[in-house]
Symmetry: C2
Subunit: 188 residues, 2 copies
């Protein structure tokens, strides 16, 4: 890896562990093993480096959503695959967690990778749910854009509850409840 | 209000605006109008003051859940009231937001008011859903503890999405989708 890549990787790790404000340029340098001055050689500012790192995380996570929601399975199977993919519940979402910090919310450069991920996930889930309505497996009375938002929210809220209760099982429960509701809305 | 109460109120406000680590003792003193030294006269530490503030928020929020879920309405009406109560979506949950910070998650004193709120909400929602199953309005095939967790997660995730997209409508969509799923599981 290049020094630039080492800096980005270290930043991705530290953001997930500590959040944005608590991640100092010094900690990034130490974690990356990069020399003094290299951060401001490769990036305009800490915010510029963090935006780069968040964009990388966002692209990676959009790739996972993409692979999950565009398989050859029937549409509701794909939605279930989205809900049940493995997650490190106690660590929180690498993007959703960040949005709690005002310094992220208030800076479009930092917020964009996070909002892009949610916009993309919502659009692709909405499309899969609309397909399920078209092929007659999902009740036509449900607004699919609302439901897509609900399902993403269940995952994000599952992280919050798992961290609050310090129990990864809270995520499992939230997902199981969503799967049960989804099943009740299915038409066979 | 006493100086102690001014300190607690200022801390509650600042936590909601900035989070824990970004709230300095100096900012608390300035916001509260309390004199130098008064913080450490009334509290052992910043963490002690923050724990007091979070406990106050937790009690207040448990009171709202209590009033909502113990009305005289039929059980599923009460659950819908829980979902549709007014929320400042863009500001985030006063408790759920805090749990993203490692300094909160790792300190039992600071985490307790947050986990208590979720434990209480989950227990009371589970009880209301179990009542709905007993009176025959909710499908008996659904695990009510799972569903209670799902519904709390929808609210928490609604906050995350509203902040990420900078659009309070995301919370409304998440809630509407949950209401639609719930309706599909109802028996009339």
């Amino acid at each position: 890896m290049s020094t630039r890549e080492h800096l980005v990787t270290a930043t991705m790790e530290l953001l997930w562990e500590r959040g944005y404000e608590a991640t100092s340029p010094r900690a990034i340098l130490e974690r990356s093993g990069a020399g003094q001055g290299s951060l401001y050689h490769h990036f305009k500012s800490k915010a510029d480096l963090v935006a780069t790192a968040l964009n990388e995380v966002s692209n990676e996570m959009q790739g996972i959503v993409d692979a999950t929601l565009h398989s050859n399975k029937p549409p509701l199977e794909r939605v279930r695959d989205y809900l049940t993919q493995p997650r490190e519940a106690l660590r929180g979402c690498r993007l959703g967690r960040m949005i709690q910090e005002p310094a992220i919310t208030q800076d479009a450069l930092l917020r964009d990778p996070i909002s892009s991920y949610f916009t993309y996930s919502k659009r692709e889930l909405t499309a899969a749910l609309a397909q399920a309505q078209q092929d007659g497996t999902l009740s036509p009375s449900i607004n699919v854009a609302d439901l897509a938002t609900t399902l993403i929210a269940v995952v994000q809220g599952g992280y919050v509850m798992a961290r609050a209760l310090q129990d990864a099982e809270a995520m499992e429960q939230a997902i199981r409840g969503a799967l049960a509701l989804l099943e009740a809305s299915e038409r066979r």
